[in-house]
Symmetry: C2
Subunit: 652 residues, 2 copies
């Protein structure tokens, strides 16, 4: 046995034995890709197991996340201190660091949560883009690294990867290197049962260089990666492998993809690969060879630390996504100005006014839109669009690729040194929902500028009018959904989104103009999620509460007047963010809601409002094509309807 | 002016004048594609305006749905009786047939609702597949037509179209012909700002033939379409056009994409194209030429009617998606057998047992899975997989392409003669959500077999465990979400899904085994959405109601026992489908819920349950990796937790 074979087999058996012990997992990929991973991690990758978060490390994304044991085995063998043999032995058990799929934050050395196919390779494009953006700003000594991906056929068949790959080609992200585990097997059988695409030709058409390697020949793999490192374009390496390599009865078939090999086949694998060690027993010489590989970049790390030190606190703050002191002063001033001017604009326009005050003060901001910049108003003067010829920009033209935009933003946020926001119509957030879910799961600071947030869209009709979207994201854990009612609230929600380091935010913004409702700017009232924006008159006792968000808060205020005419004392609550409101104490919640009946008004699905209200002026069906005002009347989302609902409720 | 030019200009000016009148709409595409559309609709397409639903007509999908006025102009000029000049004059007004984007069902001649980019071309693949499937069954005389698509760059950049196009190439759907409005413009500017892909090469890599045409030269377009008609693969025609053709100051730029040209530019367009007619005035000779074109296929239609008549009632029922008489007898028998056998299986397995009784009895069924057939259990003995060599099958291997699966199922349902179902893990329904929304909006009978429906997934962890999904689809209008609690309910939900002709259904099914809870099979208890599955004992008065769905109904029953031990009389309600329950009368709803406090138990987000319950045993965060049972305990979704919640609620 050569050292290379032994090292690769160490990966194989740690993986297979952990899967056997868990009686759950995916052995086929670690067995098939062990050779390629050994080459990549012993000859190429720049990492430091003793500094897993080293900013200038190469990024590694296991896009085929079901092969998680390959990654855990690598991290253990390379000497990451966060993982022990016991962690490997508790693979897939509740509370262990070694989850079924790699979970970002559970274990040092995991650069991204993967599992949902196509997400890894697509976020890797975002990482590779972030690397170039920061390189353009700080130079080679501080930021100059590769992004490596391992993925299978699944990732290549998912549409999201097409979107991201075509963008990578367009932007010539030549430090992105994808190793395609080309084993010709998917869960349901051989690839040719469902796909006949010439992948290399397809990637060439998207502006990639492509290479081929024998995935079980170290030299062949090495040669391909070396060539890819010198490519002027992103690189796809077709690594031809045998899934389940070495398992005599299951290799080359989907049988070894998603289930343990079983005791018998594992014994045969041992025999076949001449691995005579007990489960989890890695001979010292093999372990030493791996640990040495883990030290390959120590010098590079030390050099970088020197450079980083020399670059000073600004660089440190930058890469750690620290917001500059007083970054929000201009935004605060804007709020005061808006109140003075009674700024009556669409909240998407207010958002743009905020961005004018935010973008110049937060260097990590990278904005963009999925080909709707002129509608989402995500671009502001002074921004510069990133191109393949010049990465020194802070605006990305994502094209008509919502899903890639979501994934790239995840990758940039994971990389560090970037706080991304991206825009599209709210209704088309559906296209990037899988990436948004991952942002929420990983707790990433990603901001979605979702304009055209209701039937207020008007003539474009029901395909363009979100109805169920507010509810559908409120149901998603760790996603803050903001729907500001006017320009001032828009500024406040932007601030909250930017200051939330542990999760993504949606800003749901109107197409149509909204009156300015706020009268004071000092306190960020949106921070508590909901507040009384207009109380009952002095000496009145509240009889009913009108709960509203966004464009419907003004309807609540009109209804308040109608009710006052009938002698009914109503308070109006603006509720821009349910999630933050839920985090307040019961006393605050009670004070806001009042101990009275509540009517909810929102030009979105009623679904979920039962938590707070007993009567509803909401959508119960899809929208329609027509003028915005006509639609509000048609669907009875009016001040009159709110007042009537309140009266009915009080009578009941 | 040649007749051809006049006919094309008739399309142009009807479109532009309607957009001017509405002061809203997208003139660029109708102006640019008018020549190509004139060639397609006067020389090639097989339709009969007097029989818009003719089964063997060519299908036409305006994937670039924002160009809706092009389609409305075509339908009017060709002589569709459902559309008048007045309809065109009321473009984009509330209640008109001529909505902002083409809405299926609003106007005869619209083969699909389009607007969300990529959906049209992808569903067209489903239509073209349906055509081949039915051709294989009934022959050329009854089913032999083309599917034409017009789309722009947006549709080609969306990942969904990659998924669908690669599947079309794999299946060699050579009667699919896509006209790519290659105008080099997207909303944010020239295409090269965001994309550098060589589209022809990419489509070639996916197994398509590609052609090029000058989009303003009739002969060039004609030649390309003719060649495409004789292709052995699906065809992409690059139709090079000038967006906004003829508008001197706006053509060739994104300025004419999404806003009316304005009075001045419209006047200049008239001058430039030498169109001297008043708005909406189409000279009789031009109208006659168009009306004649509308009659081109009258003979073909009559021949087909003869053939269809000869084919008899079976064929008629087939293409009208009529379910055969007594199709459900075997399914009913299965329910009885399940009760007798106390069948304890996962509901995904129960679903497969149902399919064994359904598939042989409904000839229009076309099943499939996105590479998870062995997990979704969507394939049953006797099914045959569709291949390029043999379309006489009823199972589609969609590959790892959830979004394309969703879109293809829409296309097949729209085509008629197919009742599609497709499977993936419930959590990955996110990937096809935009297509599911369109199915709901169009009211299509599409069935989603969504297995692995909760934390019961176990070790695969949070990326694979749906949490917010039930809520997110319950919030979507016209989507029936079924979550059966045992094998018998699974059969009942399948029946309800199949019998709902006006909307899609989700079957959320467990990975893990579920005990058989039902004791009687006669009535379809799921039809009312919720029912008392276990009442309080005789002579007891109900004190609390335990509401549950799916795998948690058995927890409700266990909790009922725990409560009985404490002297508390609880009724257990199984609630497999909220949407159907909402359709029941108040009396029924009250009888089921009881006039008592309610506890909801569901291993999904609590969001929305406030409609029915006051206490919740639900998920409040993402899941985790671990054994399914361990996760239920960890997240406190247990019978004990339900009993405790009920006791607390009664005390409060």
């Amino acid at each position: 046995m050569t050292t290379f074979e032994n090292m690769a087999n160490a990966l194989r058996f740690l993986s297979v034995d952990a899967i056997e012990k868990a009686n759950s997992g995916h052995p086929g990929m670690p067995l098939g890709m062990a050779d390629a991973a050994t080459v990549l991690f012993t000859k190429f990758i720049k990492i430091n197991p003793r500094a897993p978060k080293w900013f200038d490390r190469d990024r590694f994304v296991l896009s085929a996340g079901h092969g998680s044991m390959l990654l855990y085995s690598l991290l253990y063998l390379l000497g990451y201190e966060d993982i022990s043999l016991d962690d490997i032995k508790s693979f897939r058990q509740l509370g262990s660091k070694t989850a079924g799929h790699p979970e970002y934050g559970h274990l040092a050395g995991i650069d991204m949560t993967t599992g949902p196919l196509g997400q890894g390779i697509s976020s890797a494009v975002g990482m590779a883009l972030a690397e170039r953006l920061i390189n353009a700003r700080f130079g080679d000594e501080l930021c100059n690294h590769y992004t490596y991906v391992i993925n299978g056929d699944g990732c290549l068949m998912e549409g999201i990867s097409e979107e991201a790959a075509s963008l990578a080609g367009h932007l010539k992200l030549n430090k992105l290197i994808v190793l395609w585990d080309n084993n010709n097997i998917t869960i349901d059988g051989t690839v040719d049962k469902a796909n006949s695409t010439d992948q290399l030709k397809r990637f060439q058409a998207m502006g990639w260089n492509t290479f081929e390697a024998d995935g079980h020949q170290g030299e062949s793999i090495e040669k391909a990666i070396l060539a890819a490192q010198h490519s002027d374009k992103p690189s796809l390496i077709s690594v031809r492998t045998i899934i389940g390599f070495g398992a005599p009865n299951k290799q080359g078939t989907s049988k070894c993809h998603g289930s343990p090999l079983g005791a018998e086949e594992t014994a045969l694998l041992r025999e076949n690969l001449k691995w005579q060690n007990a489960p989890f027993d890695i001979p010292q010489d093999i372990l030493s060879a791996w640990r040495d590989a883990g030290k390959r970049s120590e010098k590079a790390y030390e050099d970088w630390c020197e450079s980083a030190k020399a670059a000073g606190q600004n660089f440190k703050d930058f890469i750690e996504n620290v917001l500059p002191q007083n970054w929000d002063k201009a935004l605060q001033d804007l709020k005061v100005e808006m109140i003075n001017q009674k700024t009556k604009v669409a909240s998407r326009k207010a958002s743009q006014m905020c961005l004018e005050k935010i973008v110049p003060h937060i260097p990590q901001i990278v904005g963009g839109s999925a080909d709707l910049a002129a509608s989402n108003l995500t671009f502001v003067e002074g921004m510069k669009t990133v191109t393949a010829a010049d990465y020194a920009g802070n605006n990305v033209m994502y094209g008509i690729r919502e899903h890639a935009m979501g994934a790239l933003m995840n990758g940039m946020a994971l990389h560090g040194g970037v706080i991304p926001y991206g825009g599209t119509f709210f209704v088309f957030s559906d296209y990037m929902r899988p990436s948004m879910r991952l942002a929420a799961l990983m707790g990433l600071r990603v901001i979605y500028v979702m304009t055209h947030d209701s039937i207020g869209v008007g003539e474009d009709g029901p395909t363009h009018q979100p109805v169920e979207h507010l509810a559908s994201y409120r149901a998603m854990p760790n996603m803050n959904v903001f729907r500001p009612c006017d320009a001032v609230e828009t500024a406040e929600c932007w601030q909250l989104a930017l200051e939330n380091e542990s999760g993504p935010s949606i800003l749901a913004l109107s197409r149509q103009n909204l009156p300015l409702l706020r009268t004071a700017a000092k306190e960020n009232l949106c921070a508590k999620g909901a507040y009384v924006i207009s109380d009952v008159g002095t000496n009145k006792v509240r009889q009913v509460t009108l709960l509203a968000t966004g464009s419907e808060v003004s309807l609540g205020l009109e209804a308040q007047k109608l009710l006052a005419e009938k002698g009914i004392a109503a308070a109006v609550v603006s509720m821009p963010c349910w999630e933050l409101f839920e985090k307040q104490g019961q006393a605050y919640q009670k004070a806001v809601l009042g101990d009275v009946p509540c009517v909810a008004v929102e030009a979105g699905a009623r679904f979920g409002w039962e938590r707070y209200a007993q009567a509803f002026v909401c959508m119960e069906c899809f929208g329609a094509s027509g003028k915005g005002e006509a639609l509000y009347a048609h669907f009875s989302i009016t001040a009159e309807a709110v007042a009537e609902a309140a009266q009915r409720l009080l009578k009941a």
